[in-house]
Symmetry: C2
Subunit: 424 residues, 2 copies
């Protein structure tokens, strides 16, 4: 699924009658908008000579200090502001890292499924993506080691592992503590660079944030962070934490790309962190998302036909759903939109055509009642597909894409609450 | 001169005792900061659900409409908002266009000298830059045609001409009306794409804005615009105007790079254009810059030693100065900084090692009295260099780089007020 297709989808689903479980928009209306507005207005009135002027390519020093405070919440206590590069959202950080490291033909290891925006960057850089299986505990270390060995045997240049360890987009799962240690041991053993993309790490529902991979190794891990989910995506403020030699290259690359990130938005984030109760605000967000997650999981359990499975996120924005065998989420999409419910088909999260039976459901933006209604509509659509499927069983009507013989098995996370349909 | 060197220079020249004629920072303090602050504060308080949220990759539709109004001031009356892509400053526009069009080894034609930020982007894309001579009337059409013919004869893939037609950075000159027609005729004849980079076009001191190249051809010209000099660079809002087929590629490229431009800064610019007297504010800016330009030119005429020449900008930010023969602006720079005056050496504006005798002087930021003091200090430094030069005449002390035999002549704009030292 290309960006252009996602755009077309979003233009349809923005109609008010459609319940969209497609977008990943944070609930910014839960922010104290009057306070934030006054704060930003005063930044311009009182400090316009700075906030409206060019800044440094690396980003505002005061903001980079505060970013180090934020990262300390996930155990990164040794980061220096000099190792931080402020970016236009963490998407730009990902693009810069890719520009610095990737030559055409290089291999990038990434979870199966993986963040669609990362796959787009990797494709633009003409990298090959080798997916690595994950399950309810995140990336599977044995599958990672196997992938490294296979690539080496073929003579592929593996440049890095790209991973979203917390509340994965789209899979919703989190890399367990034991696996974090195992992944780092593999990285050490095979001299593997890791790009740790962590936009959701502070949005956990059940417990304190887990210790970041970067907290375990300051040379082998490049960390991407973002204020898009903890404060505001419309400000487009993210960052990269990288060893100094890499940081220097990233600064040169960002200067060529945008000269410098916007000053106003950087001052806004720094001032927000300095003067507003941002930790409490994150609690407000997580309570709100927890309620929406619960509405999603309860509705799925109550309404989905047998054979449908899904992940149980403990934070973040997403549930990853697997349709009953033989159904194709992308082919089903027009009928779902006709039934006034939208999702993102799973195929967009794979570089190799996988994910046809999967979809991503986002619970971050709609209210719980809308979510319940959306899941109800989705369940009806799936049931109708199943009816059709049993009627035309075995006939390729164009509606049900047969699993291609010889295609690699799609190993995705499955719903641990359901049994009998678990994939290997 | 690399970006890292410019950064190092800027960190030195930010000391208060140094008069910096180096930076290109607009005089944002001349904005009505209270009004702009209130306006932006209200955007967040009243419309936070939009201004703090993700937006479209192409940019806010309302802003794209207003951008078309702005371009109409330079004769572009047929532009549609659907052909506009909002970018993170026009630097990102330049980067996106380069990504879309350039493969390694392609040739880009560009004025001699050319904008340093463009040369950085072209170098990162592994393009070859072929400089085209200019004089007081801008790019020389005959030199352009000659360059095209030479490249064709060599089998080079010429992808586009990159040009800054108005108040050129760094040369300060403007492409005359007759030459605009001649350049477009050459583009037509040789099927040449033109990238028209126009950040300064509305900042003329002497007359109404000239008609843009894009106003003469809507298929062959891709236009880059910016609010950095007419409103605020700290918001980082620029744009590209391109035919629909190109625009689609640019949107995909920007989505991979930053997902979408910041919403808040886009709303701020659109609201500013909707509610503030922005045309009158541009007049405030141009009066202020005209006064600074006058201070610069008067001081140069009064103080510079014979053999020094410079351009007479009729708008924009920059004077391009040529040292007496044999002096090297980059080698002289440490002594200038020691004398508490800074400039940007000309070599950074050439991809081929040219510009050693040149420097860029920016009059946009310092007050007129500072400018006069800066030029006084610079004149003394040049006189001291000349004294040294005559003492060690003909001896290569490492201070005076000899003009290399066989090197192509550097044809730069010369000061029409001075005679006797004009270069071909």
């Amino acid at each position: 699924m290309k960006s252009s297709e996602i755009r077309a989808l979003f233009s349809v689903v923005s109609r008010p009658e459609v319940v969209s479980l497609a977008g990943g928009m944070p609930a910014v209306s839960a922010l104290p908008l009057d306070a934030v507005g006054s704060m930003i207005g005063e930044l311009v009135s009182g400090m316009g000579a700075q906030t409206l002027q060019y800044g440094s390519g690396q980003g505002d020093p005061r903001l980079r200090e505060r970013i180090c405070d934020v990262m300390a919440l996930e155990g990164i206590t040794d980061a220096s502001p000099s190792e931080v590069v402020v970016t236009v959202g963490s998407q730009q950080g990902l693009d810069l890292v890719t520009r610095v490291f990737i030559d055409p033909g290089d291999v990038i290891l990434a979870e199966a499924p993986s963040y669609v925006g990362a796959l787009g960057v990797f494709q633009a850089a003409q990298a090959q993506v080798r997916h690595v299986a994950m399950d309810d505990d995140g990336l599977i270390p044995e599958a990672l080691e196997q992938a490294v060995l296979e690539c080496r045997a073929r003579g592929d240049r593996v440049k890095f592992l790209y991973t979203v360890p917390n509340f994965h987009n789209p899979a919703g799962v989190t890399l367990s503590e034991a696996r974090r240690e195992a992944v780092m041991a593999i990285a050490e053993q095979y001299d593997l660079l890791i790009i740790e993309d962590n936009p959701y790490g502070l949005l956990g529902f059940e417990r304190e944030p887990m210790r970041a991979l970067r907290a375990r190794d300051d040379e082998r891990v490049i960390y991407l962070g973002s204020f898009s989910k903890t404060f505001s995506p419309g400000l487009r403020v993210g960052w990269v934490l990288a060893p100094l030699a890499v940081r220097e290259k990233l600064v040169l690359a960002t200067e060529a790309q945008v000269l410098c990130p916007p000053s106003l938005t950087q001052y806004a984030v720094a001032r927000y962190l300095d003067t507003q109760p941002w930790r409490e605000q994150i609690k407000v967000f997580t309570e709100l998302y927890r309620e929406r997650r619960d509405a999603t999981l309860e509705s799925l359990s109550a309404l989905m036909p047998a054979g449908t499975t899904w992940t149980r996120p403990e934070g973040g924005f997403y549930v990853w759903l697997k349709l009953p065998h033989g159904l194709d989420a992308k082919l089903m999409q027009p009928r779902a939109v006709a039934a006034h419910v939208a999702y993102v088909p799973g195929i967009g999260f794979y570089a190799d055509g996988g994910g046809t039976e999967h979809m991503r459901l986002s619970y971050c933006y709609p209210e719980p009642d809308q979510i319940r209604e959306g899941v109800r509509r989705l369940a009806r659509v799936i049931e109708a597909e199943l009816d059709l499927h049993s009627t035309f069983d075995g006939v390729d009507t164009g509606t049900f894409r047969a699993v291609r013989a010889g295609a690699p098995p799609v190993i995705g996370p499955s719903n641990s609450d359901q049994s009998g349909d678990r994939q290997p």
